[in-house]
Symmetry: C5
Subunit: 296 residues, 5 copies
């Protein structure tokens, strides 16, 4: 707020702290800054964790001999289908689709680590200050995959006032958080439903078995089948849905932190602030060992 | 508050931003605006989710042969009746009736989606500003099914001051929320009681069976009957009551959001504000991809 | 606070909005207002709910034949006595007595419904304003059963300043809430202890049975007896104590709402405020369908 | 704060509301006030509750015959020792010792009831005002058992300024609360560990028994022994540790309330305030039926 | 903030309360103060608690004879490996490594007790005031093991302004807390996963056993093996992970308290405040029995 006064010189004299923007930008077609390490990778923690856990279970089944005995289509339908159906009751079809997409995104680590994002934000701001906001135009296409960064670049290029740019970016960050929170709520609810469906399936099997005790030799296998839904419910709830819900929440928090750095950069460029001030603001949001100091 | 000054011109000069209201309204009987997509539909998520889950269970019963063995009138009475009776202790008879009505409403998606509601609010405000508040009179009947929208139209037609209209609508929205929260609390309590009633029924069956072990061949069927109440309790609690309670809470939140848009529109008309300001206010309440811009 | 100025005319000129109080009261011995529907009734939700739940269980026992097998004095002592004893550890003897009294009060619906209470508060205030505060003296005896209403009448008759009267009534309402919260905490703790005592009793029975497996024919009955404490614990915890704790909390909230209306009335009389203002204040505390309008 | 002005008369004219302090105190060696009912008693709720619960269990064991079968040294070691060891991991050795001392204190009702404490605070303040602060000197020894009261008397005798005395007493009250909260946290953690240790002991016994099924007649007794740790864990967790943790919290709250009255008294004496003001302050902290009025 | 004025005398006259700093420091090479009891010890509560609990279990196994029957490599893999894999899903590989390091640190009591830390902070501040900030230079190496203390010494030696030094130290303390909170969250999540993995392993074993009931003599041993994963899950979750998570949280809180004292000292030296003021500030953060008074 009090920084608005710093933006006034734009109309009159050139700002003393930043180099003259538009003129230079026209003279030399300044190349946009190289964005440090901003790419999607597979999220190894999710994939290896999930894979290793499932492999361990499959190994235990194979070791015991009859791994085939653990697959039962009716049980899969009751637990998987039942969990999906019951979870849908509490939400809506679009919510369910969004949750499925969110599961897919937990396999990809699209959020850059905080230090890279901080360097990206600083170099964007620095470049915009040296060569004028318009010089960031070529970056708009390159940042398509990171919506808030993309929007921040667009807002800098469009030359929106700082308060408006910050408000727009903040709403977008909050909407991302809300979307992630809904997806995590869907998974968390499903993680509660899955063992309940497993119990219900087991009760069905138990009652059917107990009603037909005439042949004692069939008791064992019938009970084995009855227990399979409990087994599926435990795996689905404890090994898949509950950890993924926690992951979605954690990723959303990290993404909000990183997007907050782009917001700071966009506001700083629009206010034509001293680059050192932006660095200081960014550093207060970083843990001590990740702090940047480019002006020493 | 500070906008009250904007309402002063009414007494003296015609307001500059809105077209002259009452006179025009008399000259051409302006048709009320068509309300975009404001109708009740079945809530497919609730109905399909609940139906699919129950079908899965019935399928599993049929597959196992003796589906008839899963119906036991005494067990139904203990679990359904017991859950209703015990839940009534904590509430009152009217609360129970309200919860039953709330269950019915989860089958119907009466709240329009946020984007339609935003367009409705804007077009109502726009129409009232162009043709005078009285021109909305024909809409009072058409909006009967959406109480807060109906009340907002009435208040605009009656010409109440903005602060009073907003206070009345806000109390109504809060009362709706409180009603929904009570209904959800009834269902959540019932969802806790149902498995307890199932356990109690099973204990009754077990004790009766164990007291009569003389005929070993009757142990199996007796135990099957004993387990049926646990089965009913799990289905009632985990598959019906608990998801419906979550749905009621979720619907109430969306309804409060949508009704908040009507409140903004009624206040804006009563204050004779610039329509752009209403659009901006409404947009701050919408996620980015649903924002409206009718003035570009 | 800012209304204190409205009370100043008392010393000098007669207040313009209220009729002259003391003189009239002496002239015609104004009958106190009839209090609308202010009587104790049985709380049918509690009594019918509890009764129906217990009848269902007894019916299930009778249906299975050996209802007598479900009564075992030692088991009753372990579960009932143990729950009482263990709950006492966490509280004090007076707390336990207060909780017992609170259970008794859940059978009686002594709090009038909100609409009656609002009318009572308004008619008391109206009468006091027309005939002077002393004219409420005959009502002091009639309101004995509703402590806060009784105290409000006394404070009006005594002519205490508004701030003092409100402070006294507010402390009383808060003390009522605190008392109810302690009673509910006792019951909620007991509802946690009861199933634990049931489990402990069953473990005692199981260990005793397992140590004497010499006679196989006695296994069934011994195990039946062992399970009875679990049965008692589930009934005591889930069907009696937990619902009653929720009821006590709910009743205390409604009582605080109703007593808040009497507080408003007493303050309004002491401040000699315009009756319309009291009606407006009371209406902000009522849901829309219960609002009162006596001045249209 | 604003009362400091009331303390100024000390320098000049004698305060009008309180009798001249130091001079009189020298003239007649005013006996310190008799402290009303300030003594330690056994906390009957804790002792009788715990005793009755354990007696009920022992009675049930004796009734079933083989009470001796319920004592097994290895099981006692696993449950008691294991609970202590595992709880120690999360805390420190001094924390464990403090928790043990706190258990001892739950057997003693050292906190006087609120009404007695209020009278004590008032009579101390009254005496100090009549006979000078030094006249409380003989009470320092008599109040040793109640640390905050003792410290309050010392601070009055020492003549510390009101703000300092209040700060010192407040820190002491908060430190007491923190100590009690740590002790309750230790017990609550132990109450979670105890049933887990019981389960682990039972699993050990079950696995050992199942590996040696050669002699069917030993199955029963071996399983009985295996269940004993579950039995111990339930008793230790649900009947002893969890209720005592709740009691420690409750006692700490009551003690903080009572010690707050001594703080008010010490501050009032140091500020030489009107005794009626102290009575009013104390009364706002008491429930309505315990309020004191010594000036009517 | 208001203390900045106290720092102004530096420019003009020498401060009256502190001895002249830099000059003296040059004259006599003042030895840095001896740091009282600042060394790492093993955390006996963690080590003895964990050791005693495991010894008790091993003793129970040995007592029952077949201790070897309790080791099963496949079960270890399922429970240990599965818990690690599933926990990794919700976090990242660096988070897992950090949690492992945090477990190691719970074995070492590196945080000095609060009283020693208070004395350290006071003596550092005192020495810096007497001999100038530079005299602390030799201590920078000696305090390597306590990062915040080390950083505080560095900042004093560097002569940073008080506000900057406090901000840097505060961020470091908060980052420590955040790191500890993440590590505790990893362990707490793992403590939830472990029993679920145990249950899944047992279900695998049960289903395999029930499918092969042809040889009744193998039922017992097969079931024993099946139960071993539940046994491992209970030990890993209840006896190891959950207590260590609580310990990490507790240690982090104590460390933040102790580091807060170093922050106070660094700020006090940079502001050249009266040493008595620092002592008072430190004492408000200590429990009454640990307070320091070096100026009486």
């Amino acid at each position: 707020m009090s920084d608005r006064s710093a933006a006034q010189p734009r109309a009159g004299a050139p700002p003393p702290t930043s180099s003259p923007p538009a003129a230079d930008a026209g003279a030399r077609p300044a190349r946009p800054p190289a964005l440090p390490r901003l790419r999607r990778r597979l999220d190894l923690a999710t994939i290896l964790g999930l894979g290793a856990a499932l492999l361990l279970i499959i190994g235990a089944l194979a070791l015991g001999g009859g791994a085939g005995a653990f697959f039962d289509l009716a049980s899969v339908l009751i637990v998987l289908g039942g969990t999906a159906a019951v979870t849908t009751i509490s939400f809506s079809v679009p919510d369910m689709r969004a949750a499925a997409r969110a599961i897919g995104r937990t396999m990809v680590a699209s959020t850059p680590d905080v230090a890279s994002a901080a360097r990206t934000a600083l170099s964007l701001a620095d470049h915009a200050r040296r060569n004028g906001p318009l010089s960031l135009h070529p970056l708009a296409a390159a940042t398509k995959g990171w919506p808030v960064l993309h929007r921040a670049v667009e807002l800098i290029v469009d030359g929106l006032p700082a308060d408006d740019a910050e408000r727009i970016l903040r709403t977008e960050i909050e909407a991302n958080m809300a979307r992630a929170r809904t997806a995590a709520a869907v998974l968390r609810r499903a993680a509660e439903v899955a063992p309940a469906m497993g119990l219900i399936g087991t009760l069905v099997g138990l009652v059917q078995m107990l009603g037909n005790l005439s042949d004692p030799s069939s008791v064992g296998p019938a009970m084995a089948v009855a227990l399979i839904t409990t087994f599926y419910g435990a795996i689905l709830g404890s090994m898949v849905l509950s950890p993924l819900a926690a992951k979605i929440d954690r990723n959303a928090e990290r993404e909000a932190l990183v997007d907050g750095l782009y917001l700071l950069a966009a506001g700083s460029v629009a206010r034509q602030e001293n680059p050192r001030r932006l660095e200081m603001l960014i550093n207060t949001m970083l843990p001590p060992d990740l702090r940047i100091s480019s002006f020493d």
